[in-house]
């Protein structure tokens, strides 16, 4: 108890204010997502009772065994004119649950109420979707609390950087959608400059390390884009299966290139800042260190980070395809065909990102040395 009291006394006013606002936002948002039914136009119902009435084993055309069950659900309407009334729903779910769900008491569902119900009869309806907003808010809070608990100020800055970057991205996409004559690549290039400057300033503060890292990131990203673009041009994009690219409403090649561009940016920034911080660190320890020694140490650091950095991108991209791959395999698609169809774009992204990472090592090194020399000349 005493330590909590001490801790409280040690905190400055700004800290106290910050925690109070944070707690307020936390509680407020939780109350909101648990009571926001009236903000939705479609009817929402909370499941109160479920009963599985029948289960049938089934075998599909590829001899995969599964079981289909039918569930009868009684739910209570949470909004609209019929608020508070019970509604009867029927749900069908499979054991694998690729497209369906097994519901339990407490789940909240978007539903469609059947019209033309006789007076006095029970309401019936069909299930349209699951209400997921409260889980999203909860995980966002866990994310914020974990980052704050471990990272303190840096944690707060990374949360801010994520939010700011997301807003810029959303704004840039709006701009693109409403001005079709502007090219996506151009918008993304401007976006990338903004992302880089904002993220690195937030992560590292206003200093020469950051300036060096910003320049290195931009040079690294644009040169890796150039290499990837040339590689696509030379090979005539042979081997890329754009048909696998989902959610396409726009020219798919530009969307793919823009995604590739943004996707490798974070990793390139990471490499650039690691190079510039460590080289400036060496210089600050020993102001007379030779350029040759700096290059040597910089290359050693670069070798250390190159392998793990390329792996981060590789796993972040390739893992998302696992469910689709399994679905294809289970539907008796040939192995090679499935892999080339579903992984070609992800692998291209991972490889292009890897090229960006590796290129940024020498670029970051020489940019930082340029800044170190400039600083030296001034002193």
């Amino acid at each position: 108890m005493k330590s909590i009291k001490n801790l409280y006394q040690e905190m400055t006013f700004r800290h106290k204010l910050f925690y109070i606002i944070l707690a307020f936002c936390f509680i407020g948002s939780l109350i909101f997502v648990h009571n926001n039914y009236s903000f939705y136009n479609s009817p929402i119902a909370e499941v109160i009772k479920t009963q599985t009435i029948e289960t049938t084993e089934m075998v599909d055309q590829n001899n995969n065994e599964d079981a289909l069950s039918t569930q009868q659900i009684i739910a209570v309407l949470k909004n609209g004119e019929e608020k508070g009334r019970e509604i009867h729903l029927t749900n069908e779910f499979s054991q694998s649950k690729a497209l369906d769900n097994k519901f339990e008491a407490g789940n909240e569902l978007f539903i469609k109420i059947d019209e033309h119900i006789e007076a006095g009869a029970n309401l019936t309806g069909s299930i349209e979707g699951v209400k997921r907003d409260k889980y999203l808010v909860m995980i966002a809070w866990v994310f914020i609390f974990v980052l704050l608990a471990v990272g303190r100020k840096q944690g707060l800055l990374s949360v801010i950087s994520l939010v700011v970057n997301a807003v810029i991205l959303s704004f840039a996409l709006d701009l693109y959608i409403h001005n079709s004559d502007l090219s996506l690549i151009l918008i993304c290039s401007v976006g990338i400059v903004l992302f880089t400057v904002i993220s690195l300033l937030l992560v590292n503060g206003l200093n020469e390390k950051t300036y060096a890292a910003i320049i290195a990131t931009l040079l690294g990203t644009f040169s890796s884009l150039l290499i990837t673009y040339l590689a696509l041009l030379v090979t005539g994009e042979h081997g890329l299966r754009y048909e696998e690219l989902q959610f396409i409403t726009r020219p798919y090649k530009t969307v793919f290139m823009a995604g590739l561009f943004i996707g490798s940016l974070g990793a390139v920034m990471d490499v650039a800042i690691t190079m510039s911080s460590s080289i400036f660190g060496l210089y600050e320890k020993d102001n007379n260190i030779s350029v040759k020694a700096l290059i040597q140490s910089g290359m050693e650091i670069g070798k250390d980070i190159m392998g793990t950095m390329t792996n981060i991108l590789f796993f972040a991209y390739v893992s998302g395809s696992i469910p689709t791959l399994i679905l294809y395999f289970k539907n008796a698609s040939p192995f090679g065909y499935t892999l080339s169809l579903n992984l070609s774009l992800e692998l291209a992204r991972a490889l292009a990102g890897g090229i960006g990472i590796v290129l940024t090592i020498p670029i970051g090194l020489y940019t930082t040395i340029f800044f170190v020399n400039r600083k030296r000349a001034r002193q």
Partner: protein, 254 residues
């Protein structure tokens, strides 16, 4: 010529040029990891196998490749390995709960339009598969962070052998805080880039905010981003503690 082959060749040349032998090892590691994913897929195809457990085993193999093969077997990599495994196991429990609750498994209705000819009743538990996907997307970043913390801690202990366990732990945490911003950024942008098409789709078809937030695809992607950031953050105290514990304990013995 195939684009992927050309890109891989360029990457190989660059890695060899800049990284020398270690660069070649890093390049081979990428292929080994790809191999691990393919083998994992084969096991996931068996209906009675628990894909989360298969994924955990795959994660052990991947950490071995990323830590012991690219670097070498020593105290740094051993503590980083242990920390990776512990963090992943903690994360699995958390991810399982949220995936189960938010029902983000399988495919969204937007994705299934072009898959009409497929049978979706394939007897594989997609909830477990969804958990596996989230863990797999994060494992690279977790091993990276673990290594980035345990390595300078080892140096610190080497230069100051009398440092106390608590001081060493705090040193680890401060290193962790420095890399936190950039590691989370790496993941954010990787996912932003991957989901760009989806974001344009939502905007083009003018989905309402409510429809976006509650859709299966958007939720599952938000949950993946948050879980991976939680993973790279959680590995910081775990690695600091484990490295401090092992380094200082060994010191007391000798």
């Amino acid at each position: 010529m195939n684009v992927l082959v050309l890109l891989a060749a360029i990457l190989f040349l660059l890695m060899t040029w800049i990284g020398g032998k270690k660069g070649i090892r890093s390049f081979i590691a990428l292929f080994l990891n790809f191999g691990v994913i393919i083998v994992t897929l084969f096991f996931m195809n068996v209906p009675d196998m628990n894909s989360v457990i298969i994924t955990l085993i795959a994660c052990v193999a991947i950490s071995c490749i990323n830590l012991f093969f690219i670097n070498e077997v020593n105290r740094k990599t051993k503590t980083a390995f242990l920390s990776t495994i512990i963090t992943t196991v903690i994360l699995v429990i958390f991810i399982t709960i949220i995936t189960y609750k938010a029902m983000i498994q399988g495919f969204g209705e937007e994705e299934t339009e072009e898959m009409g000819m497929f049978s979706f009743y394939i007897g594989i538990d997609f909830v477990k598969l969804a958990v596996s996907v989230i863990i797999m997307s994060t494992i690279g970043a977790i091993t990276d962070a673990a290594m980035a913390i345990s390595s300078p801690m080892r140096e610190m202990h080497y230069h100051h052998p009398n440092i106390s366990r608590k001081e060493l732990f705090h040193f680890g945490l401060s290193i962790g805080r420095d890399i936190l911003g950039t590691s989370t950024n790496t993941l954010f942008f990787a996912f932003f880039g991957g989901y760009l098409a989806l974001l344009i789709w939502f905007k083009d078809l003018s989905y309402s905010l409510g429809a976006i937030v509650n859709s299966k695809i958007f939720s599952s992607e938000m949950i993946t981003i948050c879980c991976s950031a939680i993973g790279v953050t959680a590995v910081i105290p775990v690695t600091s503690w484990i490295t401090a514990y092992f380094l200082v304990k060994n010191n007391e013995k000798s």
